[in-house]
Symmetry: C2
Subunit: 212 residues, 2 copies
Amino acid sequence: MAIEQTLLGSGPGRPPGRPRSERAERAIIEATLDLLIQEAGVAGVTIEAVAARAAVGKTTIYRRWPNKEALIIDALATLKGPIPDLAGESVRDDLVALARAVRPSQDPRLDCVWNIFGGATKHPHLARQFKQTVVLPRQEVMRAVLRRGIANGELRPDLDPEVAMAIIAGAVTMRARSLSPDEDLPEDFADQVVDTALRGLSSGSAPSCTGP
Amino acid sequence: MAIEQTLLGSGPGRPPGRPRSERAERAIIEATLDLLIQEAGVAGVTIEAVAARAAVGKTTIYRRWPNKEALIIDALATLKGPIPDLAGESVRDDLVALARAVRPSQDPRLDCVWNIFGGATKHPHLARQFKQTVVLPRQEVMRAVLRRGIANGELRPDLDPEVAMAIIAGAVTMRARSLSPDEDLPEDFADQVVDTALRGLSSGSAPSCTGP
DNA sequence: CTTATACGAAACGCAATCGTATCGAATGGG
DNA sequence: CCCATTCGATACGATTGCGTTTCGTATAAG
């Protein structure tokens, strides 16, 4: 093995013997998330596949986690960040940033939403953990943005933030999976969704702009 | 076995021997869909579980379908209908009807979206079949409604139907799974989504008109 | 009654996966 | 050097699922 051992704690409480490889740990988590997406859900994540992909012995996995579910729970916990810094200039820009964060083509690891939510009835622990670490924090941020917009008059006073969140997050998440595997989401899809949602689908007949 | 044999074709082209049980066929399809939802995806659908739930021998399944994937494809095909009759009175009412159809708490069989879409990379056949029989027809209807609205002035002339569809379908689908298993989608959620999307999130003031 | 097929139940061989155990080598502190 | 622990590799028994086959029974046509 290479000489990339990490020292972790050289402090006093350090246990004797060879320290655990931190590289192995990262590789295992990474491999778990990859498999969770590429294979079809929790059932597709086999310990042996994780070990193979992480170039690690099964022993190394079972020394750290008692079973597959615990491993997946820890792997999901690493998806918590990062939530983008919000400029706070306009509600519109913040919403676009959040919509991009919900599904940036950059971080395909979030695609495991489908498999985690799909297996919610079979694996309630995982679904709860995923909601707690991944979904709720993002919802919290978006809710705050919406509230701010309502407070300062940028958004309708009678707007239901829950409905608005479902619209924005749902549109991006759904559209990304309705495509063929080869096509890709247009770069500015998040912008389009937010702008369309803000303006509304209906023609401005009643209040304002009836078009340029 | 009971005396619920179905005759199918007593006509001339009828092959000799005992005819196949139509009841068994229905039960198998039904059991397959149930498992596809309750268990976590395609991997959770085992032939033996299907046989047990349908009260049928494995032989009876393999006589009809060559393997598991073919069975699931046929099972998904039965999800194609019914698409609700559209009153055609107003675009708004039609959209509400469609939003309800995308996820009526009535037909939880559509919940397998999550498992099929999630397994899209692993089972492209199933994803394609599901899109073909279930997703596309509904999209087609909704697209027609949106086009009509654009044509007759009820909707913005510059509205992108694809974005609008993602907003409505995505909001309903997503929100339904973001809930705890015990809570249920409010009866009028589809109405809220459509009304919010039509009016737009932003307050009716000017800024939206400065866009591109 | 004969023939042909479908039925459910059970057992088969095969492969995959689980979680555990054992091995020799590697890597740390004392 | 010595000891404790981890490393990757490999083998293990147990379980599960696949797809096939066999068996005795049931249900049709002629």
